[in-house]
């Protein structure tokens, strides 16, 4: 599904390398987790994959279902099936959440040559999905993320994911700032989307989210590289011993 090879990324504005040769393959239908200390480059990887400005790829490649995504516009990547649940969802005053969702869903359908959803069809689907994420009508009506609590913002990300039905879902610290109940809700939302044709890359600082979203593979990222890869037990090791042991071991 997603194949990243030797990815080197620096900042456009200053001479700073952040990703220093990332190799990572996420197979179709699998859930991979990336853990790692703050500042190791996890968010950068997610931004570069989804096409944010300001980064420069100096070497390597990233392919989604065999297609190079690094030259695509963000909207093309989205239409190709890539989705990023932001670590910090953006507030957009003046744009209604519902309008935003519908525009996004229909833009992707259009880009893929599918028929657009009518307002009524869309409403029906969004209501059902919002309900299971405990997102009320008011949150749908309000401007995108404006005045939402941390937990509401994260649930709103999952709602977008549920509506857009991407192939490759990247979740960046979706658990940060959530209490246990909110985390369960989010995890349920994610688990409901798991299927044989969809892959996940779950970025998290802590193991606890992985109790709810069971990964197939766990990677440890440090200083811009994947330094260790293992099964779910690797996450438990981090939980118990922190990163220091692992980093010392690979150093």
């Amino acid at each position: 599904m997603l194949e990243i090879k030797n990815l080197h990324v620096g900042l456009e504005e200053e001479d700073k390398q952040i990703l220093k040769g990332v190799n990572l393959t996420v197979e179709t239908g699998k859930v991979h987790a990336i853990m790692g200390p703050n500042g190791s480059g996890k968010s950068t990887l997610s931004y570069v994959l989804s096409g944010k400005d300001g980064y420069e790829v100096t070497d390597g490649s990233a392919e989604l279902q065999g297609v190079d995504v690094l030259d695509m516009e963000p909207e093309e990547r989205a239409a190709a099936g890539l989705f990023l649940a932001f670590q910090y969802p953006v507030e957009i005053p003046g744009v209604g959440n519902m309008t935003f969702l519908r525009t996004a869903v229909n833009a992707q359908r259009k880009a893929r040559g599918e028929e657009e959803l009518s307002a009524a069809e869309f409403l029906k689907v969004v209501r059902a999905k919002a309900k299971s994420l405990k997102i009320d009508a008011d949150m749908l009506k309000r401007p995108v993320n404006v005045g939402f609590s941390g937990g509401e913002k994260k649930r709103n990300e999952i709602l977008q994911m549920a509506m857009l039905e991407p192939k490759m879902c990247i979740l960046d610290e979706t658990d940060s700032g959530l209490d246990v109940d909110a985390m369960k809700l989010v995890a349920e939302g994610v688990n409901a989307l798991r299927d044989a044709g969809r892959s996940f890359l779950v970025i998290t600082h802590y193991q606890r989210l992985l109790d709810h979203i069971k990964p197939d593979v766990v990677h440890i990222m440090a200083d811009g590289k994947i330094v260790k890869t293992g099964g779910p037990e690797l996450a438990l090791e981090v939980e118990n011993n922190g990163y220091a042991d692992i980093l010392a071991e690979v150093a």
């Binding site: 944010k52 909207e75 003046g94 744009v95 309008t99 525009t103 996004a104 833009a107 857009l164």
Partner: protein
């Protein structure tokens, strides 16, 4: 007056139209003032950012007719429709001038009479608005206008009056003057699309008596080459309300002046505007609000989106006189520049002589928020569409000032359509 003489511009040679006593007097007074001030020029303090040359030239610069098959703004609103073609009233295309609670008369009819209530408004509010800043284009208008309506609302109007201006001649040079009076407790909505002609000089004087409410919503549409100077002069009585909103797209030159005076306590006024300009577009909002009564609230909300060298100007002044305690004056002007070629100039001014007032003003200019843009595009919304969404959201905050929800929705839809068409 010496300050004005120092700045004196060209005095046009004009002969005021014939009319009855009140109209002749008003016209001659305006002509005399114009002879004193001369026409505006670039050295005038309030014309520093906008070159008035094409507005004051003897002839209008020809303007190609803008062909469009889209419905006119406010087409769906149930209103008394009054049509002007190139600035001339067209009775055949208009509805009957009948509306419960409102008297509607042409300026030319009213001006024939020797005595008319219009004499207490026409040229009077405009005249009060000539100090401390002279407004020679309005003087010219008052002296020369033969087109326009004289409207008096005595109660709550059953529906809006909608002025529809059509532009059919490439050389039309329109001078239009509306005189509006709302009696105590009256409520009237006036809609305008335009005005339209190759060149337009439009004045609207609005007397809002105690407890009356006036609503004005205007759409200055897609006619690219028009040149427009408009003035609104309003005087507000006790507990009255005045709201004016203007949406502008395109137009090579637009100067909208609003001069509002509070003379009765506990009144409120809002002047707001949203504009979107692309390329050869110069748009200037100049507002002067005088608080001369207690506990009045004024709001100025102006938003401009500019691209490809378009220019936006905002000059807004709040003058609070010594007795105007408990004044609440708010002013915000914001420019959104979609590229580096466009410019937004803002000149906010506060002049306050009372001590118990709350006045605030702010002005910002900036580019589109990249973080928001990335968020939208990362969800699959194409770049242009995402930019439009953010632009509409930005302008939407000014449209929010329109009280009537249905009209506000009309304006949003209109703007959305205009934006979509830009992409061809």
């Amino acid at each position: 007056m010496s300050a004005k003489l120092k700045n004196k511009g060209v005095v046009p040679s004009i002969t005021v139209p014939d009319g009855g006593k009140w109209a002749s007097e008003a016209r001659q007074t305006a002509a005399a003032l114009l002879a004193e001030t001369g026409l505006p020029h670039r050295r005038d303090e309030y014309w520093k950012y906008t070159d008035p040359t094409t507005l004051t030239a003897p002839e209008a610069t020809p303007a190609a007719i803008f062909e469009s098959d889209e419905p006119l703004p406010f087409d769906g609103v149930d209103a008394v429709k009054i049509v002007f073609v190139d600035g001339v009233f067209d009775a055949a295309q208009s509805d009957a001038l009948e509306l419960d609670g409102v008297e509607i008369e042409t300026l030319s009819d009213a001006a024939q009479k020797d005595i008319h209530w219009a004499g207490s408004v026409y040229g009077v509010l405009e005249g009060r608005g000539q100090y401390p800043v002279s407004r020679p284009l309005a003087s010219y208008n008052t002296a020369m206008a033969e087109q326009g309506f004289v409207i008096r609302a005595t109660g709550k109007a059953a529906k809006p009056i909608s002025f529809i201006y059509l532009h059919e001649s490439e050389t039309s040079d329109a001078v239009i003057h509306h005189t509006i009076k709302l009696d105590e407790g009256a409520d009237l909505t006036v809609l305008e699309n335009g005005p339209a002609a190759a060149r337009i000089n439009a004045v609207m004087e609005v007397e809002v008596a105690d407890t009356a409410a006036f609503h004005h919503v205007r759409a200055q549409g897609r006619d690219h080459e028009r040149r427009t100077a408009t003035h609104i002069f309003a005087r507000l009585g006790t507990e009255s309300s005045f709201k004016s909103f203007t949406l502008t797209v395109n137009g090579i030159l637009t100067r909208n002046d609003a001069i509002i005076e509070f003379t009765g306590d506990n009144a409120n006024a809002t002047v707001a505007g949203a504009c979107a300009g692309d390329g050869a577009f110069h748009h200037d909002d100049t507002v002067f609000i005088t608080h001369d009564a207690v506990n009045c609230e004024s709001r100025q909300v102006f938003k401009k989106v500019l691209r490809n060298g378009a220019v936006g100007v905002f000059q807004g002044k709040i003058l609070v006189k010594a007795d105007a305690q408990k004044t609440d004056g708010y002013q915000i002007s914001q420019g959104l520049l979609l590229d580096e070629n466009s410019t937004f100039q803002a000149k906010p001014e506060l002049e306050i002589y009372a001590d118990d007032v709350a006045c605030s003003h702010g002005s910002t200019v900036g580019a589109i928020d990249d973080t928001a843009l990335f968020y939208l595009t990362s969800r699959g919304i194409p770049h242009k569409e995402a930019q439009d969404m953010l632009t509409l959201a930005f302008l939407g905050e000014a449209i929010d000032e329109v009280e009537d929800e249905a009209l506000a929705d009309d304006l949003r839809a209109l703007l959305e359509g205009w934006m979509a068409r830009r992409h061809g």
